[in-house]
């Protein structure tokens, strides 16, 4: 089969698409291989319809049962969207508190062209400058709380690039992807303003703005990857009724109209008609082959029929792995199983899979006085960087901070209200509702009356302490549908993470209390805390899948070099979130995209 590609990119989401876009625009021969299907928005579809629907049963389908041999939650229910992998076919296994292995739907991104950017809420934040230098910031600190063994000072790393290095690429990403929001109030320097104007906030978000103001916290409109005006770089147009994007079908839904700026509509569509661009969908890359000298010279994949295929690469070609951190680490580890040369090089140190990261996340939720139509919403309206300043970190004894923003579309629709009642993680969807048998008859009507359009949540997304013991490995016995070892997620929360989550959850609760009661701050909170409190706390990832192949300047201390090239390989790059040595104090997608644009410029210079 074809072997004339300059670059082969595995994965079409936030890490892969910016590279493909840049290199294809520059005339390089680009192949993107994507495991999932290509679901087009209506305006691109030959039949005028999209495979994404405004249908609550698309976000969370019918009940299925875990049937992965050997796991302790065998037989339990699970629900997945139509573009998430089936848990029985492609299991992720995590080690629970009791040491027993369980299958989990947490930690997957969508398997579809565009990857996780198809289903995400679109929150597109830059990291703060301090997120890039947490090693040096904490090196001499003596005021860190809940770190008796000195893990933070030992394990925190500076990135090999600074915020200033990445700033132009943040700007490029914001301009090319199509993001609405405001700069004013953000704690990051901007080289230019590429935001589209935000839509008017949902009325329920007024409580959040009131709370932020009452507490004196600088705020801004949350940057969201949804276009609100015609977007020239991608050729997308906004309908006359510009608020048509505010549908409530946001987080966990693909957008049939293509207004959400997933990487297919924003970055790949503009190059999709170029002769030097190819996209192979429904193809699973199973492993890479390495020639002596460290050059990836072939890759192996399954075509849409399931047949095993091989693609030989021409000399000088580059391979970019961008399958999301867990699957990228797994692909590299599986490649090592298949070839001694690959194995020797990727395991020149013991860091592949280590320092797996997600975010400390959590928040608070309250029932507000006034009912609002939450179905007219995007994912978030207001955010604050107040908990990321150096002053805040010294005052609280935290090693790193995190953003706080409100969730507007959560529980905006009737089924989402019920299936996330009492629990919002993917492993336990519907479970709390099923178990809460008080909600029967008139009390179920009362539940609707009390909750529909009145629930408001504020969440935080903060750095997780990097630990070598938190890692992605190959599971010793669980197999996927291709009989390959499944990913094994071994992670726990550091005591400092727990302290940070408790502290930041209280900040979220204060915003809600003062939002509804600006004078006294006494509005009751329904629940607050971090994910460490959940029964499946070790599994909780929120689809922020980071680390496991961190970059750095020292070959002995990293998997990738500062250009995200795997040490000891000539042409193997990794551009999804696995490159991150620390997880950042915000949702990671924009930073993954910005970094991928940076790597693309590097590749342009070498190809």
């Amino acid at each position: 089969m074809h072997n004339d590609f300059d670059v082969v990119i595995i994965g079409s989401g936030a890490g892969g698409a910016p590279v493909a876009h840049t290199l294809a625009q520059a005339g390089k021969a680009v192949l993107v291989i994507e495991k999932g299907p290509l679901f087009r928005p209506q305006y691109q579809s030959p039949n005028g319809l999209s495979d994404f629907k405004r249908d609550e049963l698309f976000a969370t389908g019918p009940e299925k049962r875990i049937r992965v041999p050997g796991v302790s939650n065998w037989g339990e229910s699970y629900y997945s969207s139509h573009v998430e992998p089936d848990l029985n076919d492609e299991p992720h296994i995590y080690q629970g508190e009791d040491g027993r292995d369980r299958a989990t739907i947490e930690g997957y991104t969508a398997q579809v062209v565009g990857g996780g950017t198809q289903l995400y809420g679109g929150v597109s934040l830059r990291y703060c400058p301090i997120d890039f230098c947490l090693g040096s910031f904490n090196a001499e600190r003596t005021d860190l709380q809940d770190d008796p063994a000195g893990d933070i000072r030992r394990e925190a790393r500076d990135w090999p690039i600074t915020y200033a290095d990445l700033e132009p690429y943040y700007g490029r990403a914001e301009r090319l992807i199509g993001i609405n929001g405001t700069r004013s109030g953000q704690a990051k320097p901007f080289g230019g303003d590429y935001y589209q104007r935000p839509l008017p906030p949902n009325a329920i978000s007024d409580y959040v703005k009131t709370g932020l103001d009452a507490l004196g916290l600088a705020s801004y409109r949350t940057p969201l990857a949804v276009i609100t005006e015609d977007h020239a770089p991608s050729g997308r147009c906004v309908p006359a009724e510009s608020e048509v994007a505010k549908s409530g079908f946001i987080n966990r839904y693909g957008d049939p109209l293509g207004l959400k700026s997933n990487t297919w509509v924003s970055l790949l569509t503009p190059v999709s008609r170029l002769e030097n661009f190819a996209l192979w969908t429904n193809c699973v890359v199973t492993h890479l082959g390495c020639a002596p000298g460290g050059r990836i010279d072939r890759l192996f994949y399954r075509d849409p029929s399931g047949a095993a295929r091989r693609l030989d690469l021409k000399p000088g070609a580059v391979v970019v792995v961008a399958c999301s951190a867990i699957e990228s680490v797994r692909l590299l580890a599986l490649s090592a199983l298949e070839g001694a040369e690959f194995d020797r090089r990727i395991h020149h140190n013991d860091l592949l899979g280590a320092y797996f990261l997600t975010h400390c996340l959590g928040g608070a939720e309250a029932i507000m006085h006034r009912r609002c139509d939450k179905s007219r919403s995007l994912d978030s309206d207001w955010a604050t960087d107040a908990c990321q300043s150096e002053a805040f970190l010294h005052q609280t004894g935290l090693w790193a901070g995190g953003v706080i923003y409100n969730n507007t579309s959560d529980q905006a629709l009737p089924l989402s209200l019920a299936r996330t009642h009492g629990s919002q993680d993917l492993d336990t969807i519907w479970r709390a509702f099923e178990g809460d048998t008080r909600l029967l008859g008139e009390p179920l009507i009362d539940f609707l009356d009390q909750s529909f359009g009145t629930l408001l949540s504020v969440c935080f997304m903060a750095n997780q302490v990097p630990l070598k013991s938190n890692r992605i490995a190959l599971h010793p016995s669980a197999r996927d549908k291709w009989n390959r070892p499944a990913a094994y997620i071994i992670k726990q929360w550091h005591p400092h993470d727990i302290a940070a989550m408790n502290l930041l959850a209280e900040q979220c609760a204060r915003i809600l209390r003062f939002g509804a009661d600006p004078v006294h701050g006494r509005h009751p909170i329904e629940g607050q805390g971090g994910v460490h409190l959940a029964p499946n706390a070790r599994a909780r990832i929120a689809n922020h899948i980071l680390g496991g192949a961190r970059f750095g300047a020292d070959p002995a201390d990293s998997v990738l070099d500062p250009t995200c090239r795997a040490w000891q390989f000539d042409n193997l790059y990794v551009t999804d979130g696995s490159f991150m040595p620390t997880s950042g104090g915000a949702n990671p997608t924009l930073t993954i995209q910005a970094n991928a644009f940076r790597i693309a410029d590097h590749l342009l210079a070498r190809i």
């Binding site: 039949n47 049937r67 076919d89 398997q111 009737p414 008859g441």
Partner: protein, 357 residues
């Protein structure tokens, strides 16, 4: 009306097939009790999705398009060489009229799939078979099968908004309607007026826009019909729970109220029964036949709530009555609704002319 065959869209077919139908590991991981123990269907992920029943757009008229589905039949060959010809017969046309499935290609090369996409009316149940190189066979992927009066097995499919009972008997429907009515009593108290008024409005509207399938199946906004379809397709593994529990409930109600038909008993009887099921202690329950009335109630609650508020194409939320109830009930002091669902949903069900469903 003659059957409309749509042009083959290989990308669409592969998008639909690859994830579910390709694998090497043949372990039975997708059988949750809906198949016999070693049935090969248990190795296929979400086999219920086949044939694909999708929305349809004729490129012109949303009102006309709304009443049709785009149904894609897929034949996957497993031999060393592909079949020469795969054809489809079914009761959507005359049985002597067969339709040719086209080979599906990827990068110009043949795949293991043949496919055919037809435009079929909503609200219907169909039976069909493939003819592979002259040999008549059932759809090896689709688990829905029926044996017709002549004793012959056929593969079955049903389109959206289907009112025909597929899982339950009429007597079971009556009993289930009472149970779901107790779980989510949308038809009681002042709510009954709204639901009744809304159905009447739909009936008037149906005369204009041919709402042929928005029948009033039960008082719980069609949730029984939703459950009937769910158990026929996506959650067939739960059919056994209903098959076991409905007779238990019928029997215990008859024992407790020998002078009345169970479905005619007062609401308070069903309310107390549901509360007892929630507690897991139901007088007269046959625990040897089904040991957890609480589990059945949990299942029933999820199905009832989902049926009341999911998209009407699944057979519940008839005419979007569940959504309309929320739309009417939640209003601000100025009278504006606080659940403006119509603006997001496709016309003619909703009012969006941008989103087509």
């Amino acid at each position: 009306m003659s059957i409309v065959v749509l042009p083959q869209d290989d990308e669409y077919v592969l998008n639909y097939c690859a994830r579910y139908l390709t694998r090497e590991n043949q372990e039975i991981r997708h059988n949750y009790g809906q198949f016999e123990e070693q049935d090969a269907l248990g190795s296929i992920c979400e086999s219920w999705r086949f044939p694909s029943v999708d929305s349809y757009w004729d490129g012109k008229d949303p009102k006309t398009s709304y009443f049709y589905n785009r149904v894609t039949f897929v034949y996957k060959h497993s031999g060393s060489s592909p079949p020469g010809e795969v054809r489809l017969i079914g009761n959507f046309a005359c049985l002597y009229e067969s339709f040719l499935l086209q080979p599906v290609r990827f990068l110009g090369e043949p795949t293991v799939y043949h496919a055919l996409t037809l435009v079929l009316p909503k609200g219907k149940v169909y039976v069909y078979k493939f003819i592979v190189d002259g040999r008549v066979c059932l759809d090896a992927i689709n688990p829905q099968r029926v044996v017709l009066d002549n004793g012959q097995p056929w593969s079955r499919l049903f389109t959206d908004l289907c009112p025909e009972l597929l899982s339950f008997e009429p007597a079971e429907v009556e009993l289930l309607a009472r149970l779901t009515g107790s779980v989510l009593p949308l038809h009681r108290a002042e709510r009954r007026c709204f639901i009744d008024r809304y159905y009447e409005q739909i009936d008037r509207e149906s005369r204009k826009v041919e709402y042929a399938h928005t029948q009033r199946l039960d008082r719980s906004v069609g949730v029984v019909n939703f459950i009937d379809k769910l158990l026929a397709r996506q959650e067939r593994h739960h059919l056994i729970a209903y098959r076991l529990c409905l007779p238990i409930i019928d029997k215990l109600l008859r024992a407790a109220h020998p002078d009345s038909e169970p479905a005619q008993l007062p609401e308070v009887v069903f309310d107390e029964l549901c509360r007892a099921m929630a507690r897991g202690r139901v007088p007269g329950w046959d625990y040897t036949a089904y040991n957890s009335p609480a589990y059945f109630l949990q299942l029933l609650r999820r199905h009832t709530f989902t049926g009341a508020f999911s998209h009407p194409k699944y057979g519940g939320n008839v005419g979007a009555a569940g959504w309309a109830y929320l739309e009417e009930r939640y209003r601000n002091p100025e009278g504006d609704t606080l659940f403006a669902w119509r603006r997001a949903i496709e016309y003619p069900l909703g009012s969006s002319t941008v989103y087509r469903g």
